[in-house]
Amino acid sequence: MSIDQFVQYLIVGLTDGSIYALVGLGFTIIYAVTRIINFAQGEFVMIGGMLSYTLATSAGLSIPLSFLVSVLSAAAVGAMMYLFAIRTARRASVISLIIITIGFSIFVRGVAAEIWGVSNVRPPFFSGKAPVSLPFVDAVITPQAIWIIGTAVVVTLLLHLFLKYTMVGKALKACAVNPKAAGLVGINARTMALIAFVLAAVIGGTSGVVMAPHILASYDMGVMLGLKGFVAASIGGFKNPIATVAGGLLLGVVENVAVGINWGPFTSSYKHVIALMVLLLILLIKSGRLASEERAA
């Protein structure tokens, strides 16, 4: 593997990793605040991507405007999901709620297939598709990839500031740390849950809009993305946004460098398997720790 090739794998890895990180953030936020694993997270991404395609092509909206409308729509779907699917079942166990999210994801995919059909679509690139050659090495990056990585950085930064310096952010963190104690100091758990769902939907929708030109959008793009984002979130322990982002980036880089190694099990044949192997490893390591945390709580 030459230096040029390694840099190329790194670039692709950081791009893919940013995508996984953004999806993973949605899982982390909802789980931290509500203890629910939202298996419909990939669908928020899909809504962002598919809607931005329709708005930018059929409705002829400019890219910033279609971005705004798509993200707001994803937020609305997130709010409706919480209010009508989750809150109405509030007396159910967490496991039941998780299954409800699976049902919701199937529902959303079905509606999307009805509206948009089953073909892949590509929204217009934000800044064209002419690849940018890097200095000093023979590697390229596409403008859309730069947008994706940039979006991941900005979103992570904004989220961090939000959680640390705003009242609502601190209230969310309080719920994550100890829901009962948060309730005792006057934080309304249901409002926080709604905010968590909307926030996850906004981040999901944003990532969908920015990644759709790069990876092609379709009604079922959320399935594989949800899986990869879930792996990223589990590397982050479902609690820490920064760890989630690091997990996503790590996953993306490892997947692509493995292809480049092209030796033994590290070949393109196992690219997707790597995410699942990492997941298995995390679950084995963490299950022990999670179990002892549950006992202590």
């Binding site: 090739q5 190329q8 791009t15 089953v118 073909s119 690849p131 390229v140 079922d220 690219k271």
Partner: protein, 396 residues
Amino acid sequence: MQKYLKRAATLILAVAVLAVGSASCGDGDGATAESYKVGALLSTTGGASNLGVPEANTVEMMVEQINAAGGINGRLLEVIVYNDETDAAKCANLANRLIEQDEVLAIIGPTTSGNSLAIIETVTSAQIPLVSCAASADIIEPVEERYWVFKTPQTDRQVVAEIYTYLQSEGITKIAIMTATSSFGTGGKKYLESEAGDFGLTIVANQVFDEGATSMISQLTVIKGTDAEAVVCWAIDPESAVVAMDMQTLQIDLPLLCSHGIANMDFIAAAGDAANGVIFPAGKLPVVSYVPQTDPQWEVLTTYKADYESRYTGGVSTFGGHAYDALSMVVIALEDLEEGLSLAESRAAIRDNLESISGFVGTGGIFTMSPTDHLGMQPGSLALIEIVDGEWTWKQ
């Protein structure tokens, strides 16, 4: 009182369910007094939807045309189409439903090699003929174990030979191959590897990607670091389009040869200008305008193209053509079907009729089936197609 109401309601519900259930059972001979029932397993959603949708459209169109012209032997044709969602498990379930509940006489499809291979056991033990619309040679080989299975698309082995003949004539000796991990892709990979030596070709890079993969840059970066003179890609259109686009991004200036899995407009729409210069072998349907009127297939090709494009958007594709060939041959088999046979006897008779079809002029080629060849496609059926300015041209 409440308890008795509940019991009564349950009883009524149970009776209603039984009534509906028995009403949907067939009457045991594969045909009502008015119609012949044929099943179709097509992937109209999922990864192979760009192939399955034209197939389903073609079936719909043909059924209407046949019934409007009086049907077959005075009976109507009824084709029950199920969507297997490009999922082998669902396909197997639906195959059982067609065989046992709907009691069809024959099945056309599935769309993909993976799903076709998944139901070979099912149709063989149920003793019902299957005419697949998928490419892998394993579907009909070894023919001793494929007594009930036929297919209409050219096999992967034939298409590989066509590609390799072209590369050899261009003086190319070193190639890189990029294949999908689907059954279609691994089938192609097998023949790409085994036939290379016969055409003086060495494979210097051998990369794979999953169906649904959205970036091939890493695999192509590996290829870029080798001395390959051409890239051969074996996948259907979504993934092949990504290969074409990523080659353009990485500025890999090598010729790209693809399988016959990209013979629809969706490939060109998805790949944009990266599609130009791509070369692939397929049946003559995409390049009908280049086919001379003296070609025995000319009439079938032009009629099918005109009919399809007047009813459906998206342009004609070879996949709809495979379904046309499959259903046409089943219809020919039905025309010779005796009256009064039981379901099992009818299915066996249709199988025998299919196997004796000779000289059927279809869209994919001219078919002559035999006990040793359940594809029966005569040479000269493949055209080498090059995409120029977003259009298909016949490279001769």
